[in-house]
């Protein structure tokens, strides 16, 4: 029995059409996703921008964050820095950056010797399992850092609202 005209197709034609369709869908979905994702390189560039020419050393910073989070929409995080917080030696700023959110910056906090204790807490969004880096800028111009790897089971930020 012949097919009705609007369904007239053969195996070859069907394959060509579906391949074209798949390629089109692939292109459409891949391009914007890639465009709005930060990468480890973007994080490195962000760190470079914050630190400038100064050297970056590990230590003195404590980054308290759960290693495994269920909901990436709100992740509690505390950064504390080992510092006497005196006029001569204090933490000037605390920066937090990430690897795989759409953009690498999280927060930049400015403090001074009056803070008494160099510690900042907040809640952040994480779009994927990734590394978060905390940087501390000291009054003598040195930079110290600490990183943490976080596994996220439900991502934030980029999910569609349907």
């Amino acid at each position: 029995m012949p097919d009705p005209p609007f369904l007239a197709t053969n195996r070859r034609c069907f394959l060509i059409r579906s391949a074209g369709f798949a390629a089109g869908v692939g292109l459409l979905s891949a391009v914007p996703l890639r465009a709005i994702r930060a990468t480890p390189q973007a994080m490195q560039e962000a760190i470079r921008k914050i630190v400038g020419e100064a050297s970056l050393r590990q230590g003195r910073v404590r980054l308290d964050v759960p290693p495994l989070v269920e909901n990436g929409n709100t992740v509690p995080l505390t950064v504390s820095v080992d510092s006497p917080m005196t006029e001569a030696d204090h933490v000037q700023a605390i920066h937090i950056v990430n690897e795989k959110n759409p953009q690498p910056y999280i927060i930049s906090a400015t403090l001074g010797p009056r803070a008494g204790r160099a510690s900042v807490s907040t809640r952040i969004k994480l779009a994927d399992s990734q590394q978060v880096v905390a940087l501390a800028e000291m009054s003598d111009g040195s930079f110290w850092s600490e990183s943490a790897d976080i596994i996220v089971t439900i991502a934030a930020c980029v999910e569609d609202l349907h």
Binding site: N98, G116, V120, K125
Partner: protein, 106 residues
């Protein structure tokens, strides 16, 4: 007007290090999410938070879209004198909120 919750001790000893906790209701729409019509939802976030102690700035934070909705920020300061702590948030679409707390230092 956004709802604000702040936690500041009412009394403190001179020189004591106190923790200041702040929470403000705000959607912190990142600008990277796609809505039901397929278009990106425009960014609407708080970009700057500052705290002043008797008019002198003691803390400042620049926020990014990666801060969770209803931003919570906690930090420390030294209780130096009795007076007023003023908290100020500002952001996209002309958003602005201010809250004050009175502290007695003895």
């Amino acid at each position: 007007m956004a709802r604000v919750l702040i936690n500041v001790p009412a009394r403190a000893k001179r020189g004591e290090v106190i923790e200041l906790k702040t929470l403000i209701s705000h959607p912190m729409e990142s600008g990277y999410r796609v809505g039901t019509n397929g278009a990106l939802i425009p960014r609407d976030i708080i970009t700057l938070f500052t705290c002043t102690y008797n008019g002198q700035e003691i803390f400042r934070a620049e926020l990014s879209p990666a801060i969770a909705a209803n931003p919570f920020i906690a930090f420390f300061t030294t209780a130096t004198e009795s007076g007023t702590l003023a908290f100020r948030w500002s952001g996209d679409n002309g958003f602005s909120a201010t809250e004050t707390a009175v502290i007695t230092v003895e």
